[in-house]
Structures are given as structure tokens and as C-alpha cells.
């Protein structure tokens, strides 16, 4: 899937360059380049529907993640600005131990990077067995620790799980979705045989 994605990106860049060189009515400015790039990337994405439908769905999920990320990023900035400008500070900070469902390295990295930019949260550490994430939050959503865990699970992690279940192959889906270390060792042993 990663190879397919890089081929898609390179081909769309080449198509964008070709459009800018040959089509006369496209202006050679930044706006023209951006419009040509988006046109070529959607065209190639629609062509991809003929070859593999899984890649088509994967791009849809990545677009959902980007939309969620931009929305949360702007919301966090507005909220912090309000908090700093108004004279009275009312924060409810807490350190929450959030259980992880993602198992892959890249998934955990993307989760920490995005949740450092969403409102109030700052990832402080990962436990040694990689099953929990220590998150320092400024605003405790809903007042208790359980509601904050539910907010993290339903907001960011669900979207990342959708992406990782589409981008991995069949055996690894069970490890990423399961969550027991016993099942992972069983699958590894069955692979060796």
C-alpha cells in the first residue's frame, strides 16, 4: 500500500508538471499549480478504483483523518487563546493512562504527533509494554477520567484503526485489532510453521 501511495504521488506530480507546461490557459502561479495538482491527484485516484478498491477506500479514510485534524487544530488554538486572554484561569489538569488499541509503530507515532496538536492534550510517555499512553490534559473532558478515555478512543484512535486495518495485510489485522499478547504469539508461531 505504501508503494502504491508513493507511485500515486509521483505520477500526480508528473501530470501536474505536464499540465503546467502544455496547457496554455493555466497560469504559472502558485494557485494554478495547486489547482493542477489537485485535479491530477483526483483523476489518478478515480483511475485507481479500477485496479484496487481497497486503496480507494484507504484514501477516503485518510481524507477523513485530515479533515478531523485540521478542525481540532484550529479549535485547540481558539480555546487556548480564550484561556490565556481572559483574566481568570480555570483549568482542570490531569494525567490519564489511556489504553492503546494500535499495535504498529507508525500508528503510535502518528497518534502521539496528532494528539500533541489537538486541544489540551500532551503525550508524556508510553508504558514499557506499549499498551498504555500517558496523556497530560489541561481540560478534563466531561469531568472524569473515563469520559476522557472514551473521547480519545472514539475521536482519534477509531480513525487511525480504520486506516491501519485497511493498509495492513490479512494476518496483521488480527494482531492490531485483538489486543491480547497471547493471540499475537500464537499467530507468530503459526507463521513460523
Amino acid at each position: 500500500m505504501i508503494i502504491l501511495f508513493s507511485i500515486h504521488l509521483l505520477a500526480s506530480i508528473c501530470l501536474c508538471y505536464w499540465i503546467l507546461e502544455l496547457v496554455p490557459f493555466v497560469p504559472e502561479t502558485a494557485g494554478g499549480a495547486i489547482i493542477a495538482f489537485f485535479f491530477s491527484i483526483t483523476l489518478l485516484w478515480l483511475i485507481c478504483y479500477l485496479f484496487s478498491k481497497r486503496y480507494f477506500k484507504l484514501v477516503v479514510q485518510i481524507m477523513y483523518l485530515c479533515k478531523y485534524f485540521v478542525k481540532e487544530f484550529i479549535r485547540s488554538n481558539i480555546r487556548l487563546t480564550k484561556e490565556i486572554i481572559t483574566p481568570k484561569i480555570n483549568l482542570h489538569p490531569a494525567v490519564v493512562k489511556v489504553p492503546l488499541q494500535l499495535r504498529t509503530d507508525v500508528g503510535v507515532m502518528v497518534l502521539t504527533n496528532i494528539s500533541n496538536l489537538t486541544p489540551g492534550t500532551l503525550v508524556v510517555g508510553i508504558s514499557d509494554d506499549r499498551k498504555h499512553l500517558f496523556v497530560h490534559t489541561i481540560y478534563l473532558e466531561g469531568g472524569t477520567l473515563e469520559t476522557f478515555k472514551k473521547y480519545m478512543r472514539d475521536g482519534l484512535e477509531k480513525r487511525l484503526l480504520n486506516i491501519s486495518s485497511l493498509s495492513l495485510s490479512g494476518v496483521e489485522i488480527q494482531t492490531s485489532g485483538g489486543g491480547d499478547s497471547d493471540s499475537i504469539t500464537k499467530i507468530k508461531n503459526s507463521n513460523k510453521k
Binding site: L20, T29, A33, I74, L80, I84, N116, H136
Partner: protein, 121 residues
């Protein structure tokens, strides 16, 4: 050069510098090391992104746009990572929390406190 693009770049530069100013005030006003760190990462990242977008809009070139996209991508990638590393180092040397912080979940779990430094082979 249009009047409209000039007004838009002025608005973007003002918004970016305003968010940077807010993050600088937030360092002084917030009570705790960790809350200060979170304020700095979010607001200063958005400020830098807005100023680079203003530069791209002002020059309106393909070369400037490619360089600006590179800078935006790497800043959005590295600033949360560095914030995570600083927070982990602060936990490691036991920087104190604010006195209103809810630490029940953190005290019960002793995996983070007992980090052993293993010798390399």
C-alpha cells in the same frame, strides 16, 4: 499585484504574529511546566504556518510555494515530536506538577517511574 492579495497577506501575517504573541504570554501566565509546553507547541506552530502561507500568497511563485510547503510539512512534523521528548525528559527528572492536577491514574502505575538504564551490548 492586486489589492485583495495585499489585504489577505496583511491579515495572515497579523493573525500569525498575534498567535505567536499569545503563546509568549501563555508562557508567563499558565501555572505549570506541562501546560506551558502544550500552549507553546500548539500556538507557535499555527503562527509559523500562517506566516509561511502569507509569504506564499505574496510572492505567488511555484518555487516559493514548493519551499513553503516543505517548511510547513517539516515544522508540523517536528514540533510535536520535540514537545514529546521535552515532556518525557521532564517526567524523568521529576519536574513537579501543579497542585490541582489529578494524579490518581499516574501514581497507581509504576511503569514510568522505574525506568532502568540497561547497559548496551
Amino acid at each position: 499585484m492586486n489589492n485583495l492579495t495585499l489585504i489577505l497577506t496583511a491579515i495572515l501575517v497579523l493573525l500569525g504574529s498575534f498567535t505567536m504573541l499569545i503563546s509568549a504570554i501563555g508562557i508567563l501566565r499558565l501555572p505549570d511546566f506541562y501546560s506551558r509546553l502544550s500552549a507553546v507547541t500548539k500556538n507557535s506552530t499555527l503562527g509559523v504556518l500562517l506566516i509561511i502561507m502569507a509569504a506564499v500568497l505574496y510572492f505567488n511563485n511555484i518555487e516559493v510555494m514548493l519551499k513553503g510547503l516543505g517548511i510547513m510539512f517539516f515544522i508540523a512534523l517536528t514540533s510535536p515530536t520535540s514537545a514529546y521528548i521535552i515532556a518525557k525528559a521532564a517526567i524523568h527528572i521529576k519536574v513537579p506538577f501543579w497542585n490541582k492536577t489529578d494524579l490518581t491514574d499516574f501514581d497507581n502505575s509504576d511503569t514510568e517511574e522505574e525506568e532502568e538504564i540497561k547497559p548496551r551490548k
